[in-house]
Subunit: 149 residues, 2 copies
Amino acid sequence: MADKINPVDHRILKLLSKNARLTYKELAELLGTTRQRISRRMNRLEQSGVILKYTVIPDYDALGYIHVVLGITLKPGADVREAIEALKTDEHVKVIQRALGSHNLVIHVIGPKDMRELERIISEISKKVPAIDHMDVTFITETIKFETL
Amino acid sequence: MADKINPVDHRILKLLSKNARLTYKELAELLGTTRQRISRRMNRLEQSGVILKYTVIPDYDALGYIHVVLGITLKPGADVREAIEALKTDEHVKVIQRALGSHNLVIHVIGPKDMRELERIISEISKKVPAIDHMDVTFITETIKFETL
C-alpha cells in the first residue's frame, strides 16, 4: 500500500458495505464532499486492492441453490498453494480463502439442492486435493446478518 | 416468492455478482434489453428478498483488521434463535448465518490485529452464548477467489 487509508476512505467503505450501488453523487452528499473527491478516492481504493470487489449477496435458497462452507485442514507440511491451484478453476467453488487456525483453507460451494448431486460435487472437490486431512462440511441455511465493515 | 425467477434475472444476478456497481444502462447493454426492464427486474429481486444486499468486499489486512470465522456447534437441543438474538447487536459480529452440519451457526468477526484485544472480543462473544458446545476459530489470511454466483 503506497497510499495511506484516510478517515474519508473508511467512511466511503462503510457506506459501500451497506449499499455498494450508491452513486458518487449520493456518497458525496452523505459525506459532505465532492463527487470528484469520492471518485478519486474510490479509484485509488480499487487500484491499490483495498477494494477486492463490489458484489451482490443473494438468497441462495430462493434461487434453488445450496450454500456449503467447507473448512479444510490439510495434512501437516502440505502445500496450501497447490491445493488452491487445484480448486481455482472449479466452477462450483465460488470462494477460496487461505486461513490459519482450525482450518487452512475455507471454500464456499454453491450447488444444487439435489443432495446426491451435491455429494458428487463435494467428493470431486476433495479428490482434487489429496493433502486434505479433515474437512468440516457446513450447510448455510439462513443469513441473518451480512455486513462487511 | 410470488414471482418466478426468470433467465434474465439469473443473468442480471451473475453480472452483479462480478460487479455490483454496473448501472442499469450497462446491464441493459450487456443483456441486450432496456434500462426500464433491468430496473423493474432488479426492484423485484430486491423487494422479494432474492437480493439480500449489494456490498463491498475489502482487503481486511490492508485496512488493519483481522477477519475471523467462528464455526459454532451448540449443545444438543439448544435454541439457535436465542444465540442469534444475543449476537445480533454485537458491533464486532458482522455476519451471522444459521447452519446445518459441522456447525449450527457461522459467525464472522472483524477485529483489530492486536491479538490480546481480539482474544477479549472472541471471549465476550462466547460468553453471550452459554449454549456453545464447541467453537472452531479460523483466521482468514487471504482471499484468493470471491464470487457469489
